[in-house]
Symmetry: C2
Subunit: 171 residues, 2 copies
Amino acid sequence: MTTSAAPLPEEISHTTSQEISEEDFLRLDRQICFSLHAASRAFNSVYRVALKDLRITYPQYLVMLVLWEQGELPVKKLGEHLRLDSGTLSPLLKRLEAAGLVRRERSPRDERSVEVRLTDEGTALRERALAVPRRIVAATALDIEEIRDLRDRLNRLTTALDEAALETPAP
Amino acid sequence: MTTSAAPLPEEISHTTSQEISEEDFLRLDRQICFSLHAASRAFNSVYRVALKDLRITYPQYLVMLVLWEQGELPVKKLGEHLRLDSGTLSPLLKRLEAAGLVRRERSPRDERSVEVRLTDEGTALRERALAVPRRIVAATALDIEEIRDLRDRLNRLTTALDEAALETPAP
DNA sequence: CACAATTCAATTGTCTACAACTAAATGATG
DNA sequence: CATCATTTAGTTGTAGACAATTGAATTGTG
């Protein structure tokens, strides 16, 4: 137990954690961890149900959303949009190809690159996917404004977390 | 294409989606999906860095948090706290046991149940873990009040999503 | 032009997450 | 008391995520 009365000056100088003990922090951490982890999985679960008819998973849906919006694009670009690397995308795209939704072809002008494009079947799937978002929005029990607000908060949070990760790569 | 001019009455009656097209919904869905997925992974990433010294993963940390707070408890209870099933917990606990942080013993009074308890090493790890939450909180660039607010929002969201999942198990 | 550095996709290995199933123990009911 | 249903962990199979590495193609530089 750290019962030392003197707070470390460099710790409290720029935070609002004046009278919060490490114990309280651990408790709050437990709560925010759980909440975030649970929310993420709950969302995943709702999408799983909503996407069952389309025979694709949630991450596969994310890929299709990008393709529907952007059209054909290389794996690299796809990864930048989704913040995913080839280790995740390669097998995922292979499964989408096996399902007949996309085609992968090496670019003729740069043989390192692989272009991902929708098949007719993949394009057609969009029509059926139009029913999904409404279901998700309804499931959140939030109205459009609250959802936009949540989106913005999450984006700011992600930006902050990314910056923090860059500042502390490996001490 | 549903170009029918008449909106389906049961769709708009209890939502605020009056003038929002399916296309807009799809776009918003893309945004909220991405935001949530990205935030979840960014958090995961920050925890990964913060927990590297402790030699445990984020989900393993979640388990340890529960054990530090609750003491010894059966796998079942652990799963209820974390909303994880044995398919996830069994191998995870095996790894924590291999790392010398927990012990698993079948309960003498109910041989189906397996009690998970901290080893001395597992208990001791808590001291080092006390440094983690502050790092996480700092990384979010949010103050304590905002974090509590986020926690509450996420909890409400999870509750809503869970309820929606129950209402639509398989049509 | 030749050689080194970089880029890109894919692979390997580890760790979740979850559905579906198995096996063992316990409880309930006729 | 014997049989059936339920509870509890664990296993298997599939899919994501990510670090680390590989191999091929391209670019940059001397």
